[in-house]
Symmetry: C3
């Protein structure tokens, strides 16, 4: 009962149509901004600036780190399955490459449209586009191995669209601060993915159980992803913070939260194993939870010990999630979450939103200084009379919006993806690169599968 996974026509068609649409829309809307336009040399002289005042020099190193997280970090983190490494790293590549283009347009329409109706882009837009696709890559983690590449393009198109609206409401309408995206990226992305996975529930997925695990080297590959995410997370949380002390503080908080998470993650992993052994699944994922959870508050005065506490708690909660919650959700809630994004992104994202609300609500002039408070929370223009307790409320409202968009959007897109036209694999063919990739060494190079198949045949 093999379903037809032949996307011979549909996949190229979608790619060409969408890429052509991108070219046309970019032609109409996208232009260089002041700092990437050749007229900048005049602007520089007129305003007595130095080349270094170009935002490029403030943001570019962080941008490249974020770029590595998106393509290597997320891509390799998902290579842990024994026979889905091509799909992990390859479809991650596809989603991100398509998503960043669409994100530049969607975010541009909401945030960077000028009087002439043009979107002016610079390095900060590139970072934001990378952030936007991060939410789609998180969602991919929930459905890894169970969907076709065409479905992933649809997931991305809607995901980016929803993200842009969601982010606009959170940041511009509600005026919540969310530098590292605990709410807009992680909470939204995770619930978006989980709800899609719920809508695509496969009762007979255990027919692919022979493939739903790791081999020794696939676990080492996944650690490449883990470590690049872990190392560059300080750049992620600081990439679009305020110049100066804002970026500096966001880096320190993230660095500390992540360090703390590693210890409690490993402690719980060992404690709940009967021989005290560590589990690579936990190390690969839960060590990152602290970075998610300080996302919103990273640029606030969370204090170094506060960052450690957040990391401490998230390491515990996330690892326990892998041990108890993931099996529970699969069995009782019909949510099959391949990578455990509920433990790595959803719960820490919610914690991050709450930590952000509390930290904002308890801000004071004595701690931030008068100008520092205005600067950090952007209490300017029509928000100049906001007080920290109000801001705490705005943060909480932002979290609710992210949650609603994630759940609502996920259900909607999940329904669309249930249509029987997308070429998704059969239940006994999930987690298998051979469905969508030319794999040349089917038998020889894969003694595991060969062995397993052999054993299976024997059993029958």
């Amino acid at each position: 009962m093999l379903r037809n996974t032949n996307v011979h026509i549909s996949f190229p068609a979608v790619c060409f149509v969408w890429q052509t649409a991108m070219i046309i829309l970019f032609g109409i809307f996208i232009r260089y901004n002041e700092e990437s336009d050749p007229h900048w040399v005049e602007h520089k002289k007129a305003n007595n600036l130095s080349d270094l005042d170009n935002d490029f020099y403030f943001r570019y190193p962080s941008f490249q780190d974020v770029h590595v997280m998106i393509f290597i970090g997320f891509g390799f983190l998902m290579t842990f399955l024994k026979r889905y490494s091509f799909g992990a790293v390859g479809f991650n590549f596809l989603i991100a490459a398509f998503g960043i283009q669409w994100a530049l347009l969607m975010q541009g329409w909401f945030h960077s449209l000028d009087a002439e109706g043009k979107i002016r882009i610079g390095v900060e837009n590139l970072i934001n586009a990378d952030f936007c696709v991060a939410s789609c890559l998180i969602a991919y983690g929930a459905v890894l191995g169970k969907v076709s590449n065409v479905q992933l393009l649809v997931l991305t198109l809607f995901g980016v669209t929803l993200f842009a609206v969601d982010e606009y409401i959170i940041v511009s309408v509600i005026h919540a601060r969310d530098a590292g995206g605990s709410m807009s990226i992680h909470t939204f992305g995770a619930y978006y993915g989980l709800c899609i996975s719920w809508m695509l529930y496969r009762p007979n997925l255990n027919q692919s159980s022979r493939l739903q695990g790791s081999v020794y080297h696939s676990d080492v590959f996944a650690m490449i992803g883990t470590l690049f995410l872990w190392m560059f997370w300080p750049s992620f949380n600081s990439a679009i913070s305020d110049h100066g002390d804002g970026q500096h503080r966001a880096v320190i908080n993230t660095y500390l939260a992540l360090a703390s998470t590693v210890l409690t993650c490993m402690a719980i992993s060992s404690l709940f194993n009967k021989h005290g052994k560590l589990d690579m699944v936990h190390i690969q994922n839960s060590t990152l939870a602290g970075g998610v959870a300080v996302g919103t508050a990273a640029e606030f005065m969370l204090m170094p010990y506060g960052a450690l506490i957040v990391g401490f708690c998230c390491g515990i909660i996330s690892t326990l999630g892998y041990i108890y919650l993931t099996p529970f959700m699969e069995k009782h809630l019909k949510i099959q979450d391949t990578c455990g994004i509920h433990n790595l992104h959803a719960m820490p994202g919610l914690i991050g939103g709450i930590v952000g609300a509390i930290t904002a609500a308890s801000a004071s002039k004595s701690v931030y200084g008068e100008e520092g408070l205005i600067n950090t929370f952007d209490f300017e223009g029509k928000f100049k009379d906001v007080v920290p307790t109000q801001q705490g409320g705005y943060q909480a409202a932002g979290l609710c919006v992210a949650l609603c968009f994630g759940v609502g959007g996920g259900i909607l897109v999940g329904c669309i993806l249930r249509l029987p036209i997308w070429g998704d694999p059969a239940d006994d063919n999930c987690f298998n690169d051979e469905a969508y990739w030319e794999v040349r060494d089917e038998e020889a190079a894969s003694p595991v599968l060969h062995y397993n198949n052999h054993m299976q045949n024997k059993d029958v």
Copy 2:
């Protein structure tokens, strides 16, 4: 009929002689430039500069990204063969480490020689040296697995020398702009490698066909190379652009061209496979073609949609090249191109040169601004009267020079490398690390080869 691959004496001898020569020549010629010399503190005060005006802070992040591309990017991209990963990453390391030293000298003699006959080096020279060896690493891609390490050192010595002359003519004599090196790096390097491969044609290479393919994990290793090249390509194309808007714009153009390439590459890969499956060879290579092709024009006003169009076309052409052209060239032109550099570097490099010429020829004061035009195209000194259409001609002339140097140099060096003194492997021993590396797990760890050998023996 095993040829003697024993380079026991020749390889160490060449290494020691050349490294000793480097020390002597560096002693005579190379000195720190003003910004890396301790007297800079005086210069800084005299000119009322800040530490940040040191070029180090403009270039260092880009330099490190380029460095990663050279050593990890090119190195891992070539690990795709099932039993040539040591050679791929190890000889890449050797070529680059030797080449950058020789490049500092060669490029220094042409570009940085001061009145006292000393070459003054700083971070920009390090970037240029990395660029220079990139051309030799591209050439290595064509002969991967078929030459000895001694031959590679010879290839590098001549390659760097030719590159430096070629670059001097293109940039300084002809006054073509080539920030990302579509012409001087990619076109030159690719034709240099292809012509060497042509001169070293092996009619019986199919005797090594059991080794001329990938295994599952070697394809994943290669993706590390692909992704680091892809992610850091914006740094490559902007590393030596003008400070300020030049670097900024080069990043945006490269980012967009690469994103577009991914989609058309995957579309073509799927479309030309009878089951619609993707081929890792295409994903590993053709996704990068857009970065090559915007190299020259990256700092020009290519416009965001223009970058997308360039990427769109290159993704198609490069992937079709792998499908049709590589087999054709091997069969009819006697050019065996292991990594398919013709598709990844030669064709996109030519396209890049042409795109650069057109973009330059169509430049105008209305688009760039008066100062912007001078700034971008360096219309200063003896070139102050050049107009854009002329500049377009210079660009085209530059492309021709690169092509001639590549072809001529490749034929010349190919002849030298045909001498029977270099310890290259026999036709049935190509693509095999065991020729030049201690491989400890010959049988046990390599079920594939074992299996294949077993099957072969059976067949006989």
Copy 3:
């Protein structure tokens, strides 16, 4: 005779106790420094500074490179063993994540304590914390595969403590300069690890010899570590150098020394192999020796050819160390050095200290300029009357201190680690991830071991 490697209670207990202690101590002591505090906006205006004067923009790119070296570089370098990759990369992660927290405290108490008894941290402290754990990771290389995770935490706690005292004496008391840490990081760390390994000598370690080697892909994984260390070493040696020419020069010297090392390392590796073949062990390790050895002198006027000479010598010495010294030390000195840190860190570290002393002693106003000399050697305050020859003596004294701390500390900590309470593996269970990790594919995925075990059983 399997020892009890069950750390079910002890490991989580240690993690929780120490992480809790960190939170309490951070709560009492650690605060943001001026540049990461929201009051910085006021300070900036008062002093007429720009955002770019925040040290963040001088140091952050280097910090991220160092961070990659610590987590990816050291972690993957040690994955070369066929069945200890989880332990290599996972315990490296554990050591580093714990160590950086303890280092921020220890180094803070010695260097950054303000009048109120608070430690003020910024990006430079994060770099120094990373440097500090580097010494513990070097030490881990000597005992890789032979100790439990609890022992590693103890090793780290003491290692960081000793490092902080050692560094304080070298840098602040003696006033030796050690930008890249040849003395304080490499010499100290290596002798610390070697002496621990000596105290933990296992006469029957050959019972694990089936596991004490690499397989093909584990060697490729290790090259990821090697290359990231190699590429980012210029950032390591320049990360805390003086702004401006100091960082610039440190990068150039390190870049050149490393390039030179690669050639002589490969030459010796080939020369001492009877078939002229290269050995991956040498390439993975000895190519890095030049970076270690220019650590101290990187910011001095070593001159480009001087850097090449240092690299030239270290490539030879380090590779010969692997060929002759490591077996000798194991057999006659009872020091089992899994990764050969004596060749990669101890000897090059000593060379680095000596090179630093000579370069400092021969400094002159004619070469550095008057201000340059003061600037480079920090001849200010109570050290304003120091002359270069004296400074040379200080450097030599610093080297002796590092050596004493390494040897003394290693013997002390080695004694503690000999207590039979730490859950270390039995002699026939070393280099085996199954002792501390859930490994799922014990038989199937590991044909090597399976094959070996099979053969062993047969033999018996």
